[in-house]
């Protein structure tokens, strides 16, 4: 299980959502990489019970996720997924559009 993020081919910065130029080095050549896990930094519970979270990857990239499956707390490491109906245990769901990185080879 993993979630896709963008990686700059030049400086290896991880980016999400996808950029056009790398904000770190200015290059415009990217690849897509799979991020496996992230650490929950904050969560918020919405009025309908949905729990959203800010999840940090190693290196500092932060993603906004919905926590699915069993409960998880700030500080906890969770598997990342682009699948809203991922398997058992706590997961962090990151929605992507199917055309993400469509122009990148």
């Amino acid at each position: 299980m993993s979630a896709v993020v963008q990686e700059c081919r030049n400086c290896r910065s991880l980016l999400f959502p996808a950029r056009l130029f790398c904000p770190v080095c200015g290059e415009d050549s990217f690849s897509t990489v799979a991020a496996e896990t992230g650490t929950i930094e904050q969560t918020t519970t919405l009025s309908d019970g949905i729990v959203l979270a800010t999840v940090a990857l190693d290196g500092g990239l932060r993603l906004i996720a919905r926590l699915t499956g069993s409960e998880a707390e700030p500080g906890q490491s969770v598997p990342l997924t682009n699948d809203p109906v991922a398997g058992s245990g706590a997961n962090a769901y990151i929605p992507i559009h199917t055309t993400l990185n469509e122009d990148q080879s």
Partner: protein
């Protein structure tokens, strides 16, 4: 800088617009009211700028045409909560450069239920692809998590934010244009239905339909009450969304802004900061230096804001007056100009300098646009 605001106008904020109400009508009414206050007619206007999320399929030129304006300067701004400062920045330069003599800046939206849902679902590509499908309906959840971060870093509690909301509601009691005017108690604030923990109902702005406008001219000299623009600064995408959102672009605006204004943050008698959430009031006051770095934020809120020693958002702010879409950014500018021109009615304070900030356009995790303006009363 030699440009002044000589008129302000609003279209009354309402949670329930009459069926058939159009954005263009709402904006035109604010423009009409601002021109009346300035003692001018549409024929006197040669510059116009507008910001709106719901003007489609029309643009600034359609609106100008339908208002009968003949112009030598025209712009449309798309930066929501930061649009007023952005338009002001351009307009001041346009007047200084001689491109126009009388400029009207306007912002407004028809923000009923369907318009609001549409706006928050398709705010930008990142929202459409990565936030709306979570599902997330609007920015409350993002600012809930930002508020949690700020509580941890600054040692703030929900009560501290409550004092901000309650103080603004007290100001709103004297603003007939505010949609919420009844006193708010701490109990009501703390026990309000949760929207996105830790945010409750009174941490969030009520969407309203309405519009705001101002009239700008080259400084007319000692002839009339006016609000002189001492500085306008803008910052866009200061941190590439790679930070925690607790600092806004205002941090970069502050030093050059105060320098150009010729006064410091301690000299302002009024702060109108973009209050989409109480935590953002704290963040912006801190970035501007109005909340000094060596002061304790919780103490500052109780000692200075709650007591009105430092008037903050004297219209009630968007938290009490309502957020009329893109007019949210113009709201504080209009209020500051009114206080400086002596037209604030029952909530009028005695004030010479005001700072106004704009903030907005959530790209993915928090707002990327910020503007700072400093105004001075003159007559």
């Amino acid at each position: 800088m030699t440009v002044s605001i000589i008129g302000t106008g609003q279209s009354p904020y309402t949670r329930h617009p009459h069926p058939g109400t159009e954005t263009s009508q709402v904006i035109a009414r604010a423009v009409r009211n601002a021109l009346r206050e300035a003692g001018l007619s549409p024929g006197d206007v040669d510059g116009f700028a507008v910001s709106s999320f719901t003007l489609n399929p029309d643009h600034a030129i359609d609106l100008a045409w339908r208002m009968g304006l003949r112009l030598t300067w025209l712009m449309q701004d798309t930066n929501g909560g930061a649009s007023a400062g952005g338009m002001l920045q351009h307009a001041v330069r346009a007047i200084e450069a001689g491109d126009a003599k009388v400029i009207v800046l306007a912002a407004g939206d028809l923000m009923d239920g369907p318009a609001f849902s549409q706006l928050v679902a398709s705010y930008n590509r990142a929202t459409q692809d990565h936030l709306a499908p979570l599902p997330m309906k609007g920015p409350n959840a993002l600012f809930a998590m930002l508020t949690t971060r700020q509580m941890e870093v600054l040692g703030l509690t929900r009560e501290d934010y409550g004092h901000i909301a309650i103080a603004q509601r007290e100001w709103a009691a004297d603003n007939p244009g505010a949609v919420y005017r009844k006193a708010l108690t701490m109990d009501e604030y703390l026990n309000a239905p949760a929207v996105a923990t830790p945010l409750g109902r009174y941490d969030c702005v009520p969407p309203v339909t309405g519009a705001d406008a101002i009239v700008l001219v080259a400084d007319p000299g000692n002839s009339r009450p006016r609000a002189k623009v001492l500085t306008v600064r803008a910052s866009y995408n200061a941190d590439q969304q790679a930070g925690d959102g607790l600092e806004t672009g205002l941090r970069a605006c502050a030093q050059p802004g105060w320098e150009e204004a010729g006064i410091g943050p301690k000299d302002v008698g009024l702060a109108c900061v973009y209050d989409d959430y109480p935590s953002m009031v704290v963040a912006q006051l801190a970035d501007l230096g109005v909340l000094p770095a060596d002061d304790h934020p919780a103490d500052f809120i109780k000692r200075r804001i709650a007591t009105r020693e430092l008037p903050v958002n004297t219209s009630g702010g968007q938290l009490s007056a309502g957020q009329a879409g893109a007019a949210g950014g113009m709201h504080g500018l209009v209020e500051a100009a009114r206080q400086l021109m002596g037209t604030a009615g029952a909530r009028q304070i005695s004030v010479r300098h005001a700072v106004v900030s704009g903030y907005g356009m959530v790209l993915y995790r928090y707002g990327a646009c910020a503007t700072m303006s400093v105004l001075e009363a003159a007559k």
